[in-house]
């Protein structure tokens, strides 16, 4: 009986959180955009969210491409099919690794920073004083951050994929001595621009939407104390990563099935 009660309470809490997060999202998106005023704010946030995440994305992409190439080579060698390395690297990176790992890194690097920043603004009464000045914090603070996150994510994922494939090329061709022509032409004949590259970017766009949503909501909803900020930041990373991985499964099923 107790267990059922706990389960019911938990389910109600989840629904409440989800409902509040949705209301928050609609309130943010519903803000009348004033492009001339919003644009500089958006640029500022693109810098904070996108440009500052660039280094970690490039370095991780390079290494992941190199590792996939090395592992793939060792496995393909057993079937003497090493000339297929190019397509192995390109497909795994554009379809899965690119969007997913970029999203996980993004949740850890940019998402947690967003949550902490907004929660700190709440704790130090910056949001409240902005409201008292007659400036809507949803419009001034949340909205530019949200859109910057949604825009940055596919760009970062494309950069990640490109760098990872180059990393795979470095290991496969420059180090293990595969033929460069076979590497690229096998890749080109299997990778489909719409089915693989564009679908991967659609995935990352959806991931970017979800992660940024979680980040700004957790920051805005945080308990305005030091402990509350720490908890909100942790929640952003945990919920963000779980959301990305489960969504990835659903999206992959949809894309392989229907598209």
């Amino acid at each position: 009986m107790n267990f059922l009660q706990a389960l019911g309470t938990w389910a109600l809490n989840v629904c409440e959180q989800l409902g509040r997060a949705s209301c928050f999202l609609f309130a943010t998106l519903g803000r009348r955009p004033r492009f001339i005023r919003t644009f500089p704010l958006l640029i500022q946030q693109l810098y904070a969210i996108g440009v500052l995440s660039l280094l970690i994305i490039i370095v991780s992409g390079l290494f992941i491409g190199m590792v996939v190439s090395l592992q793939g080579y060792n496995t393909l060698e057993k079937f003497s099919a090493t000339q297929q390395l190019g397509q192995l690297v390109a497909l795994s990176v554009t379809r899965e690794l690119g969007p997913v790992i970029t999203a996980l890194l993004f949740a850890g690097r940019a998402g947690s920073a967003l949550t902490a920043e907004i929660a700190l603004m709440k704790a130090t009464e910056q949001l409240a004083s902005m409201e008292m000045m007659g400036v809507d914090p949803l419009w001034r603070i949340i909205s530019p951050r949200f859109w910057a996150g949604v825009i940055s994510m596919p760009v970062l994922a494309a950069i990640f994929s490109a760098v990872a494939i180059y990393g795979g090329y470095l290991v496969g061709v420059k180090w293990l001595g595969l033929d460069a022509g076979a590497f690229w032409s096998n890749m080109q004949s299997t990778v489909d621009f719409h089915g693989d590259v564009i679908n991967g970017l659609i995935k990352s766009l959806i991931f970017g939407f979800v992660i940024t949503w979680i980040s700004v909501y957790q920051g805005y909803d945080a308990v305005p104390t030091a402990e509350g900020i720490a908890r909100a930041t942790t929640r952003t990373v945990v919920y963000g990563s779980l959301a990305v991985l489960s969504l990835d499964f659903i999206l992959t099923a949809v894309m392989l099935g229907g598209w």
Binding site: T124, E125, Q126, A128, S129, M133, V135
Partner: protein, 268 residues
């Protein structure tokens, strides 16, 4: 209890406010006369900050209504509410300065958001307001480089930059050294007179508040237990008022948080 609206800038009528199950205010009435400094005092935890947030319509009362400048502040549309808020300045306990901007940009923020004034004019206004709080020299500093008293003064400059009618101070004296306290006391008085403001001052610092307030309300336990000029209240023989005004440790407002019988608790 509701006097003519013309000479009262803010009226709170029969306000009750609940947070969860806890009743924070129970049927309180407060009037803030135009042009005066009104102190609202009470022990910590009586919801004085909540009162300011109710006036600023960041919170909604459970019952009763609040009129600011003749408008029922909780029935305004969002757009009108944001317009009405331009007539209010609020100084938060921690200042609430934006960390990403320097002093100048902080003070200029409301101007940039609400007006389309040319840059030279914004600069002049900001420097004038900073001069009024004595911090024109700190114009290029970041909030992290300001002391507690200084950041509160910058926040004050920002609160008055749109020339509001009403300014609310949330605990402006806490955590300041005596000199900084004195500076803030002087500033509140000076600005109120010079700019024709109406000020609401929430505090539990009796000396500083009594020194400048024209009218005082004492809140305890969700009720107003006393109101009047500082001189009247200091002479009051009402036990709770006396306890609060003279800072006695125990009295009508108990030192003990409600608990079970002491002897029983220890022996159980």
């Amino acid at each position: 209890m509701i006097p003519a609206a013309t000479d009262n800038l803010v009226t709170l009528a029969q306000i009750s406010f609940k947070r969860g199950d806890r009743l924070i205010f129970n049927d309180i009435n407060i009037t803030i006369p135009r042009g005066k400094i009104v102190g609202i005092m009470g022990p910590s935890g009586t919801g004085k900050t909540t009162l300011l947030r109710l006036i600023g319509a960041q919170l909604k009362p459970t019952a009763g209504h609040i009129h600011v400048n003749g408008q029922n502040i909780h029935q305004l549309s969002t757009k009108d509410l944001y317009l009405a808020r331009r007539q209010m300045g609020m100084l938060f306990q921690s200042g609430g300065l934006f960390t990403g901007m320097n002093t100048f940009e902080n003070v200029a923020f409301p101007l940039r958001e609400h007006t389309t004034l040319p840059e030279t004019m914004i600069r002049d206004i900001v420097l004038m307001k900073l001069e009024a709080v004595g911090l024109r020299g700190a114009v290029a500093l970041n909030p992290s480089e300001l002391s507690g008293g200084m950041s509160r003064r910058v926040a004050l400059a920002r609160a008055i930059v749109l020339d509001p009618q009403l300014i609310m101070y949330d605990e402006p004296f806490t955590g300041l050294d005596p000199i900084a306290k004195g500076v803030i006391v002087q500033l509140i008085k000076k600005l109120n007179n010079a700019l024709g403001l109406t000020s609401i001052l929430v505090s539990h610092d009796i000396h500083e508040t009594c020194a400048i307030a024209d009218l005082l309300y004492i809140l305890a336990d969700g009720h107003i237990i006393g109101s009047g000029t500082p001189a009247e209240l200091l002479k009051s023989e009402h036990p709770s008022i006396k306890q609060f005004m003279q800072g006695l440790p125990d009295g009508m407002i108990p030192f003990q948080y409600p608990a079970k019988d002491y002897a029983k608790d220890l022996l159980s």
